[in-house]
């Protein structure tokens, strides 16, 4: 053994590796497009952002109460993307992040300044991740807005920081009512100024899911399982509220599993003991997989109807044979013909571009909401940005919030967007789909058996 020689060799290799890493990809933070997007996105009819016709102002306008961002000449406008790009929920966050990238490409420059999304931040689908990422974002005062988060739990932790910094955040897949309101005028417990979303409020989804269960399936006794985070808990609570008060059904048990839990036999035994006709478990595939695989072995649950939500409309879950026969509530996924008025792209166009650029179809439904959220942010920035004659841009933060809050009748690929006072902007179309064949997932996503837009 010659430890000295080995050590020396390893040290040299280590130094080389460090040098290569440092010199290799130097331009990751200041590009206009996100680094992973190759240049294959030819948009046939991209209409550029509407040009301002006013002459540039000579001196900056007065700052509003939240301050303003001045983007110097030649600098990029800074926004950020905060999605769950690693871990169990990456199937949801990665299409969201890609939707943002595609939107930036399609929108183009704002008043002569390119838009930079920086390096994509990770919300880890948890409060810790959301808070850590928010701290990174607010430490850079040039950031104007964020498109994110993927998970409601992360948004609950991130919003206090982002709101206090005067920035805005538009989410494409947060659905927890706590972040906005209960759709009846009562503000949610975690609502903060500057938060908006293009995804539906789960109050609506819970009500539609309950309506389907009661009116179409004729159920009177349903068991609920959530996994402790604001999205799943919000959805089961919304379902419970609607199912018991509006439709007169009973909830036999309202219990939870822990994240990363694998042994579902005790919780399913508890559910079986309460004698339900159906189980509504609007959770994620990490735990949902174990539930569908183990439910068959529990005495008393042989004929129970399994009912999930948009967290489970993921390819890796739908491919499991045991998921056949399940119903899923979720956002209306049949937006094919809708066109985004600002970029002129239809949903089908954007989806085709997605598949061409990334080589695979989107693994979760909210990519389209993410595209709309990013375009919404960019068009609002465009609206309030004032071009100064030294080539810089003056963007007042309060004016941006006002512009976003006043959004109405805005046509996106997910439908018509109208923002209410609490930040809910989505068209609110919720459907229930039925999963027949685990080998044909696209058919399932189009197999709508109930919709609230009829």
């Amino acid at each position: 053994m010659k430890p000295n020689r080995v050590m020396r060799l390893l040290a040299i290799l280590g130094a080389l590796a460090l040098i290569l890493a440092a010199c290799g990809n130097g331009d990751t933070t200041d590009t206009t497009e996100a680094p992973e997007t190759p240049d294959a996105t030819e948009a046939p009819e991209t209409t550029d952002a509407p040009e301002t016709t006013e002459a540039p102002a000579t001196e900056p306008p007065e700052e509003g109460p939240l301050g303003a961002v001045t983007v110097a000449d030649g600098e990029d406008i800074q926004i950020r993307s905060l999605q769950a790009i690693t871990g169990d929920v990456a199937f949801l966050g990665i299409p969201n992040a890609r939707g943002v990238d595609m939107a930036i490409l399609d929108y183009g420059a704002i008043k002569g300044h390119d838009v930079s999304v920086g390096t994509g931040l990770d919300d880890l689908c948890s409060a810790d991740g959301g808070q850590a990422a928010a701290q990174t974002i607010v430490s850079d005062e040039q950031v104007i807005g964020v498109v994110g988060t993927s998970c409601s739990g992360a948004a609950v932790a991130a919003m206090p920081l982002i709101s206090a910094a005067g920035m805005v955040m538009i989410s494409s897949s947060n659905t927890s009512p706590a972040l906005t309101s209960d759709m009846q005028g009562n503000v949610g417990t975690d609502n903060h100024a500057g938060y908006y979303r293009t995804a539906h409020n789960d109050f609506i989804q819970g009500a539609v899911a309950a309506q389907f269960a009661s009116e179409e399936l004729g159920l009177t006794a349903v068991a609920l399982i959530h996994d402790g985070d604001p999205y799943t808990n919000g959805l089961t609570s919304a379902f419970e509220g609607a199912f018991t008060s509006t439709y007169g059904g009973t909830i036999t048990v309202h219990t939870a599993v822990a994240k990363e839990q694998v042994d579902m036999v005790p919780v399913l035994t508890e559910v079986a003991a309460s004698g339900p006709e159906a189980i509504y478990f609007p959770i994620f595939p990490a735990e949902g997989t174990f539930i569908v695989q183990q439910v068959g072995g529990i005495a008393g649950l042989e004929d129970v109807i399994l009912y999930g939500a948009d967290g489970l409309i993921a390819d890796n879950f739908l491919e499991i044979p045991e998921s056949e026969g399940m119903y899923f509530s979720g956002p209306n996924l049949a937006f094919g013909a809708n066109t985004n008025a600002i970029t002129g792209q239809s949903a089908d166009d954007v989806k085709a571009t997605y598949e061409a650029t990334y080589g695979e179809p989107p693994s979760a439904p909210f990519w389209a909401h993410s595209y709309d959220a990013a375009i919404l942010l960019l068009s609002a920035i465009d609206e309030v940005a004032v071009a100064l004659d030294d080539g810089s841009l003056f963007i007042d933060r309060q004016a941006l919030r006002d512009a976003l809050g006043a959004t109405s009748g805005w046509a996106g690929i997910t439908g018509v967007v109208n923002c209410d006072e609490f930040g809910d902007c989505a068209a609110g179309e919720v459907t229930v789909i039925f999963h027949e064949d685990s080998t044909d997932i696209e058919a399932t996503k189009n197999n709508i058996v109930f919709s609230n837009t009829e």
């Binding site: 690693t86 871990g87 169990d88 990456a90 199937f91 402790g228 048990v253 309202h254 219990t255 939870a256 599993v257 822990a258 990363e260 839990q261 694998v262 042994d263 036999v265 005790p266 919780v267 035994t269 508890e270 079986a272 003991a273 595939p285 990490a286 997989t289 174990f290 695989q293 183990q294 072995g297 529990i298 005495a299 008393g300 890796n316 499991i320």
Partner: protein
């Protein structure tokens, strides 16, 4: 000097009563013990009342729950054996053992997928399972021996805290190495082959075939390990090294080789546990080893660290506590939706056992360095 008073004071309290000095800590512990017993008894009585009233799980559901928890506990026990053995021989907790288990079950999944795709899986159920268990055992043993060689042997003479911290690092390393090799998504074993899933009648109790297989395999492994440790020369060497490394070396035992054997045997047991995981839960990802690893460590402490029958007993008891505990005790106390408190019950059980019997249920076996 001479004026120091060496005679006992004239008016002393008799030595008998002096022993009953009230110690607040002892008093508090007694309070906890009594409170725990009361809570548990009230909970069980409440559950029996619920059962008599027709609510709560039926007898079949209880039976299935107990069997399922027992099977899960047997699996925890096999993993706990690895923790106990390494602690007995080297005196530190090998936190990477959970990942040793994960490596076995992950590679076993690759093997089972290949067997399933070729049709062998359904055609020859027993042969397929045998192949998978051998692959899992081989992988786990290999990983265990490798980490011993690379991470722990250089630290043989370091203070015992150092290899403990190293083991945490090794644990993360293995997790993310496997994430890089096999991806981050959850992958599932194929469904149990043949009609393994069907119920089997034993003494009039109907048990699912897979659960029965898990219990049988765990029992066979435990018996094989007991035989190995008690009757073979290598096993005796292991026990000697665990007792006192220095003297064992002086007696002519090759201590290094024995330590490697200990890791290998622990790894093999974890590999068998990998197969049991495949039968019980089917889904595997790179983080699969984390929680079972912690639970198995808890089980090892519960049964008495360093004690092999204790590890197995601790595992089975932990499985039963966490599976049956919430519904048996907490539901009877009127707490709604008790299944979320599964982990709470499991770790409370650990705390309570340690309060009642600090050395674990069957007593700990410490090496000479740790004994007082």
């Amino acid at each position: 000097m001479l004026s120091r008073n060496v005679t006992p004071p004239a008016t002393t309290t008799p030595t008998k009563t002096r022993r009953f000095r009230f110690n607040w800590v002892d008093g508090f512990l007694w309070f906890i013990r009594i409170a725990a017993i009361i809570v548990i008894v009230v909970g069980i009585v409440g559950s029996i009342q619920l059962f008599a009233a027709g609510e709560g799980p039926t007898l079949e559901q209880w039976r299935d729950l107990v069997i399922s928890s027992f099977a899960t506990g047997a699996m925890y026990g096999l993993i706990a054996l690895g923790y106990s053995m390494v602690y007995g021989v080297l005196g530190f907790i090998n936190f990477a053992h959970g990942e040793v288990f994960m490596s076995g079950t992950m590679v076993g999944l690759i093997a089972s997928t290949m067997l399933f795709d070729s049709g062998f899986w359904d055609a020859n159920p027993m042969a397929s399972l045998l192949i998978v268990v051998l692959v899992a055992m081989f992988t786990s043993t290999l990983v265990a021996v490798l980490i011993e060689r690379v991470a722990y042997r250089p630290l043989r003479n370091a203070p015992r805290l150092i290899p403990l911290i190293t083991s945490i690092g090794v644990s993360f390393f293995l997790q993310y190495a496997f994430a890089g090799l096999f991806g981050v998504g959850v992958r599932s074993y194929p469904p149990a082959p043949g009609n393994l899933d069907d119920d089997v009648e034993i003494f009039g109790i109907s048990i699912a075939g897979t659960k029965l297989l898990v219990i049988v395999v765990a029992a066979i492994s435990m018996v094989a390990l007991w035989y190995f440790v008690k009757r073979t020369k290598t096993g005796t060497a292991m026990r000697a090294v665990a007792e006192d490394k220095e003297i064992a070396g002086l007696m002519g035992i090759n201590v290094e080789r024995t330590i490697v054997t200990t890791f290998a045997v622990g790894g093999a047991m974890a590999g068998v546990a990998g197969l049991l995981w495949a039968l019980l839960f089917r889904g595997v990802d790179f983080l699969t080893g984390f929680l079972p690893g912690i639970k198995a460590f808890t089980a090892a402490v519960l049964g008495g660290i360093g004690n092999l029958p204790g590890a197995m007993l601790g595992g089975v008891l932990l499985g039963l506590f966490e599976g049956v505990g919430p519904l048996l005790v907490l539901a009877g106390l009127g707490i709604p939706a008790v299944s979320q408190l599964k982990d709470f019950v499991a770790f409370s059980a650990l705390i309570l056992v340690l309060i009642f019997r600090p050395s674990g249920l069957l007593g700990e076996r410490l090496g000479s360095e740790d004994r007082a």
